[in-house]
Amino acid sequence: MLPLSLLRTAQNHPMLVELKNGETYNGHLVSCDNWMNINLREVICTSRDGDKFWRMPECYIRGSTIKYLRIPDEVIDMVKEETQVKSRSRSEVSKGRGGGQNMRTGRGGNRGAFGNRGRPAPLARGGGNQGRNPQQNKNKK
């Protein structure tokens, strides 16, 4: 399975995106392209230190600045269906996005989806940085 297929399948699902600069963005994936550029809607941005928060109605993020994306667990099972649909109707690739549209019913979910998996997003991120003070790293450079 290709990472970008998974990402495409995750359209209209909530996700957490961490950028290389350490900021995290929680929002619903609106669209993505082959470069992993993404549009999010109903976004909450968390600063690198997890101490400041912004709400934004939407935002565009350049793919090359992404460190990783956290995607709801169930999305990986939807990708399989999508590949099957596509391999059946290969000649109609341009219509293939129907597979994606069918999933839009999932739109009711919210950021809470991540809560189910243990902890709220910024805390998870904080955990990742535990004992690894960014300032410290910076001084080493």
Partner: protein
């Protein structure tokens, strides 16, 4: 594809990222740029003062730019690790 990662698909792998974090999960897929799909993943957070903490994270796409090492985990050996008693300095990040 000549990255060699195809042998690890559906296996448990450990990914060390360039910011020094360590993710464990099932490799579900990858591409030419080493973007990686990790399913049922968790992060191991190392600390010199207390044991290794495991943070459950779930499904991840890790961007290839950020991947330093992908290694296969031998689950029988790994399960014998007493992570709660392993104390180690966390890795630093890669300096460009």
């Amino acid at each position: 594809m000549a990255s060699g990662l195809e042998n690890y698909v559906n296996q448990t792998v450990s990914v060390i990222t360039s910011d020094g974090r360590n993710f464990i999960g099932t490799l579900k897929g990858f591409d030419q740029t080493i973007n990686i799909i990790l399913d049922e993943s968790h992060e191991r957070v190392f600390s010199s003062s207390s044991g290794v903490a495991q943070v459950v994270l779930g499904l991840h796409i890790i961007r290839g730019d950020n991947v330093a090492i992908v290694g296969q985990i031998d689950e029988s050996i790994d399960s014998r690790l007493d992570l709660g008693n392993i104390k180690a300095e966390p890795l630093g990040s890669i300096v460009h």
